[in-house]
Symmetry: C2
Subunit: 617 residues, 2 copies
């Protein structure tokens, strides 16, 4: 029953040989790998404004230079990653590049940072997607939908998790349509507004939304500008995705991937700068009262509440869900790399029925759902934790590339070192800015979590290595053959379920079988002893006393005693178990068999033989 429910939810199992790697064209690959990066324009501008507004409305103008700085950073990072793509045609994630070129610890730090960031990607993207939907609903006369933001967010996470457990094929159609609708509609909005501004009477068309600006709470200073810049750096999340996925491109993989990266960053820069400029012109600011997103405010002001507005909001929500979906590919893949290298439990590297890394998908779903609940689906509140991980990975990955250039000295290594050097220095500086400005707003959590995760990876690794050492045959002597067997049959009464166990015991250890019974009730024990002569199959019966009514303790003591008595021979503990006809009937019986088996095998290291007796009804 549980099994057919699973079939219904995630579908029939897929055979291993059906695994295949679809190769993507540049146009499709852009859609597949870019949703995370492109979708960040839905909240990056808003994050900058949310900081600047603290210094009052006159500070909002700074969003333009800050936006330009971030766009510049984007271009540098993109050039840096083109190097990585060329060097790692099989995929160069932060973990792989840092591990190979700097060392194991650098790799683990990058891995920990990325795992945290993937969880945040899901939580932030889903929450921002929900905000797009509730903004739409609010302008359509359903202002109360935002009260259910957490529930809607959790529902989306469950949906995306199930879809990934089924195995979403990374095939174009699903991804291409919403991604390009989003890109086209955002660019259209920007072009439309520019056009109006140039050719139509600007004073009439562009009417600023009445900005309900709070009183300046903080002085405008370099600190606030740095904070606003740090907040906007979320626009860079997801830029690394293409470098992880080079093998999915059509040949020549590296060249196509590099071109796609360039195209993506161009689109990203255009949309981000455009939205930032529009927000400035229209005076859009984050609105705490209505929770309406900045993009929604802009679309509403420019197009009015109509079909275009609805399309923009829907495309925004969809691309944000797709962005979350990207993390569902990245997190389980990285976890499987770590698991393959024995830094995470091996369950993360086994493929489930549908050929996907089910355990990684489930873990990502659970952690991101937890974040959505903790932060009440407020993506702006989560942003301070976000981006730190990505910049740690950027910095480590670029530094790794520098060491690689210096080591291999491949053609063009001087130019490469220069590009990656610039990238490494810039991202390192931004990382420091991010850490310092966001520290008290929640970034400290990430900075505490990363070393803890690295410690966890290391101790898991230590355990696996120790197990492998202990099981290794290099130090093993040929085992001694077993000389003599002793059998102890644990009986719970005289009934049909016990007889096959007694017969088996006699055939396994003809000379040395004992039956053991624990006296929990004197009347029952007397009755048992009377009937034993008839049915005990000539096996001697030992009755153990149990002053505290425990079954386990006296049995364990007796078995220890017998085990000690026969030295290095094998002691077989035989457990007759009757098996009810229906699974729920187990609830009606003490789970003594299970407890005994566990205690004997796992705690005492005894050989346990379960002899089942099947009930028919």
């Amino acid at each position: 029953m549980a099994s057919s429910f699973k079939r219904l939810l995630i579908g029939k199992p897929i055979a291993t040989e059906q695994q295949h790697n679809e190769r993507l064209s540049k146009v499709t690959a852009l859609a597949v790998f870019s949703s995370d990066a492109l979708s960040s324009v839905a909240y990056a501008t808003e994050a900058i404004l949310a900081v600047l507004i603290l210094a009052g409305s006159q500070a909002l103008g700074l969003s333009l230079p800050i936006g330009a700085g971030i766009a510049l950073l984007l271009v540098v990072v993109a050039f840096s990653y083109r190097q990585t793509i060329r060097a790692y045609p099989k995929g160069g994630g932060g973990y792989v590049v840092a591990r190979e070129n700097i060392g194991e610890n650098a790799g683990l730090v990058a891995a920990a940072a990325l795992l945290i960031d993937y969880v945040l990607t899901v939580a932030v993207s889903i929450s921002a997607g929900v905000a797009a939907i509730t903004s739409l609903a609010s302008n359509w006369g359903f202002p109360d939908l935002k009260l259910y933001a957490v529930e809607i967010g959790l529902f989306c996470i469950i949906l995306v998790t199930l879809a990934n457990l089924r195995g979403v094929k990374e095939s174009g159609a699903i991804f291409a349509l919403p991604t390009y609708v989003f890109v086209v509609s955002i660019l259209l909005m920007i072009a439309f507004a520019i056009g109006k501004n140039l050719f139509v009477d600007p004073q009439v068309v562009i009417h600023p939304i009445p900005p309900e600006i709070p009183l300046a709470g903080e002085a405008l200073g370099i600190w606030l500008v740095m904070r606003a810049f740090a907040a906007g750096c979320t626009a860079l999340t997801g830029v690394e995705a293409i470098s992880d996925g080079v093998p999915a491109f059509r040949a020549p993989e590296s060249k196509n991937a590099a071109a796609t990266l360039t195209g993506m960053v161009a689109l990203l820069v255009a949309m981000f700068l455009g939205i930032t400029w529009l927000a400035h012109v229209h005076g859009a600011v984050p609105n705490e009262a209505t929770h309406e997103t900045v993009v929604s405010q802009l679309a509403r002001t420019i197009f009015g509440i109509g079909p275009v507005y609805v399309m923009i909001q829907s495309a925004t929500a969809l691309i944000l869900v797709l962005a979350a979906n990207t993390a569902y590919a990245d997190f389980p893949r990285l976890a499987s790399f770590l698991s393959r290298d024995r830094f995470l439990p091996r369950q993360f590297s086994s493929r489930g029925d549908r050929l996907v890394f089910s355990n990684g998908i489930l873990a990502l779903g659970a952690f991101s759902a937890l974040l959505v609940v903790i932060f009440q689906a407020n993506e702006i509140a989560m942003l301070p934790l976000y981006a730190i991980g990505v910049f740690i990975s950027f910095t480590l990955s670029q530094s790794g590339m520098i060491r690689r250039h210096l080591r291999l000295k491949e053609p063009g290594w001087r130019r490469g070192t220069l590009i990656n050097g610039l990238g490494a220095i810039l991202t390192a500086v931004v990382l420091v800015v991010l850490s310092v400005t966001k520290f008290t707003h929640g970034a400290w959590v990430v900075m505490v979590l990363i070393p803890l995760l690295v410690l966890l990876f290391r101790s898991i690794h230590g355990h696996y290595r120790s197990v492998a050492d202990q099981l290794s045959l290099t130090t093993a002597a040929k085992p001694k053959p077993v000389r003599r067997l002793t059998a102890v049959v644990l009986v719970s009464g005289v009934h049909k379920g016990v007889l096959p166990a007694l017969e088996l015991a006699k055939s396994l250890a003809p000379d040395n079988v004992t039956a053991v019974y624990v006296n929990l009730d004197q009347d029952q024990t007397d009755r048992l002893q009377m009937r034993w002569c008839d049915w005990g199959c000539a096996v001697p019966l030992v009755v153990l006393e149990s002053p505290f009514r425990s079954l386990i303790t006296p049995l364990m003591n007796y078995i220890d005693e017998v085990g000690g008595r026969y030295g290095d021979d094998e002691l077989l503990v035989i457990l007759p178990e009757f098996v009810p006809a229906h699974w729920w009937e187990h609830l009606l019986h003490n789970q003594t068999g299970l407890i005994l088996r566990t205690a004997l095998t796992l705690r005492k290291g005894k050989v346990v033989i379960s002899v089942p007796y099947q009930l028919e009804r």
Copy 2:
């Protein structure tokens, strides 16, 4: 670790031989058995007023005749139960009396009704106790405490559950003090008010609390009077407790128990009538705004907010907790009777470490906690579900007594028949009134639950009987001795953990051993096959293909095939398992061993031999 935490919470185990039955004097017994009954005066009057108020303030005067009627009913029931006490010196609960004299179904109905009522006793008493505390706190300047009523209630339930798991000795001191403080302070309050009314100027002293009477929502009629009467019948809950506990009295048990019952009912009638009269004189009504209880209103008005008021509220809260505690003796005992007769899972009849029926205690705690959460610790809302169960048990038990008198014709049977007949008729009539008037207010839940529970009891009974039949040796032939053994060793690789299992397999079935391996990864399989020659101990290796990466399915198919090949001989499935040094390290390994063992023993009925290999670190 888990074990020492358990020791801390519930204490060291107690040996069976330490079990002893303390005999109680009448004074102590009154305290032990009466808290449930006596405590109901804390809410019974309020329940009557809460119904009458629906017809406006002029209807409140009817509380006096209704109270008198209930008092009369109490006296009749008490006389009825004196008969039961005499007839069942070993304890005559509703289940036992109805089962013995009417039949199994009647017994089961009484049992189901009582189990439900015990759960309600805990939920209602704890909630009423919390109401007493929050009323006190409210008058002391902490009106917000009532916002935490559910949390306080759950905390109290956990506390009482733990105390009972430790095994509260039913010894006097704990029970006697609060019970008598409660009785004395309530009687004192009544006497004080009567005195003032008679000797001091009544106009000055008795000043009615301004009754914020709502508009008459319902017409006053026979229906409302019946509903008010039914609501007040909660005063009768707990009256049956003494008849269950006759063996706990000092000799002559029956005589002492009967005298105690009379004393208890006298006190109950006096307090109930007194409080009802006081509420009438003072115009106390249930206050939905402040949630102040009627008793608190009275005590505050009569004594002012001072030490006497605090004492009355504290004693009320304490006796209500003790009332809940009574159910913790009754429920597990009744569950153990049902379990002994195989109507409930046998786990309910085994005594835990501390000689108490731990499973019954835990079940009662869980169910009553659920009720407190569902009803948000509002005892007045739970009352419609309450009392139905008790009256079903009353009616069945009295009817059983009638049949007993008629059957045995013991001395005085005519008088007995008359008394029990009157009791049976009256309680049956009240039961009808209760069912009809409370039906739509929640009583239907109880009336649906009771037949469902009886069905559950019956199907559990059916299962146990069927198991006993199937295991019975009366139809058993002497078992065939085992002729030839076949062994299959399931291997996960070539390592030290496998070698002892192979040796054991060779010694158990020298002629017929196979090792089986499932190919999940072709490289690993190739490596295994190369090393098998060196280490395989001359056992032939079979490699199974697994197109869907499942370990279980191909193994099960293979074992079925081998099992079928050798007909009626014994097939031993040998499972090498390496055992990590620390329990948490299990999380780092697939639980394949556990899953395989379960599937093989429980689903396939195969003999499974676990051969553990203990890791040292």
